[in-house]
Amino acid sequence: MKRLIISLVLLLTVVNIQAQQVNVAAAANLRYVLEEIKIAYTKQHPKAKVNLTFGSSGTLVQQVLNGASFDFFMAADNEFPVKLKDKGITIGPVTTYAYGKLAIYSTTLDVEHKGLDALLDPSVKKIAIANPETAPYGERSVELLTKKGIYDELKPKIVIGDNISQAAQYAFTGNAEIGFIALSLALGPDMEGKGSCYIIPREFYPPVEQACILIKTTVLNTEAVKFRKYILSADTRPIWEKYGYDVPSKK
């Protein structure tokens, strides 16, 4: 019996070492682009195992702070990673990997041509926005409405999604006429071509600079380091651009 237990433990350790996996905590706007990057990555590294968990950046930070076993954090802005860095639970620098774009999406209104005026259309009863407290895209949306001076007017119509995916889903199912979403979601396979989308011009909001950071683990996860390097490499550039992101030019 004793021998059996010992050999089992040994076996498990061996298995553990062999298949070192990367647990990635990723902002919800990365849903489609990261899935695609993951496929490309596993083609190059067939043994690699990458687990993706999506949520709002704030939710993920909270999970990491409470001990969730993530190795790599990809936020929707450059402030949430700093929050983790300040707590001393990360390794290496906060690095910008992409610039995201904000868009509005609707299945009932032609927002593509109406632009932001569509928000004031009388047929609009609900406007979905990601939680501005925890989702940078939600924060940008509220800032934009405030700057345009229509936030107070629209406030009773605003419904809050837990993250940008839920806001997108509210707009996609038609429960909200318009949703403030990340452009990358509108370009994803589920929503593209099924509604109208308007990319909000750059001058209306500060760019959504999305940054990532490695999270400290008891043993350095070399796979995570490799995956991070791949994300920041030129190989992934076409995938990022396909989903409407801008990539930092320096690389």
């Binding site: 704030g58 909270q62 609900k126 925890t134 419904v159 809050i160 909200a176």
Partner: protein
Amino acid sequence: MEQDFWETVLLTGKLAGWTTVILFMIGFPVAYLLAYKQLFFKHLVEALISMPLVLPPTVLGFYMLIAYSPQNAFGRFLEQYFDLRLAFSFEGVLIASVIFSLPFMIQPLQNGLKSIPCSFREASYTLGKSEFVTFFRVLVPNMVPSIITAIAMTFAHCIGEFGVVIMVGGNMPGETRVASIAIYDEVQSLDYATANQYSFVLFIISLLILTLIYSINGKKTII
């Protein structure tokens, strides 16, 4: 913050209160039928009522979200004829809550009715009392503990409702942002102090309600 806090607590109470009132009206006749009458699809009905006990709330949330959407027949009908949009509204969450608390109201009532010996009813009928009078004068007074349990369990369960509300609620202050959602939200934004405030209030209220139920059931001495 203080104002938000009480608004949320009151809203939670309002949702639980309305759900309990509505379910009491629906629940009593249904429980009566299930307890005493021979129904055709009785077991199917009983199974349906008990579904919320085993089904994840997200299943109901998902179906409601689809049903409420103005893109679909039911949602469009409500919008056209009643100018009503159920998603992200108090009414929508209330309907979900009523459906989800069905077993908590009906099962105790049904068990209460069943536990009354049939000689009570028969005696009342032979003395020439109608079914209606028998119900109010004989049955109800003999099942007070069951009624209190049903009401208290429904109310308490509603306070704890989370899954459906997060899916169809949209987190609107004063409309659908009930305490359980607020706790989730505050934890996400790392505001542990406020989360603790809500959690503590819920903890105390639930404890009081359950203690009430157990103390009543402990004293149960019918007949």
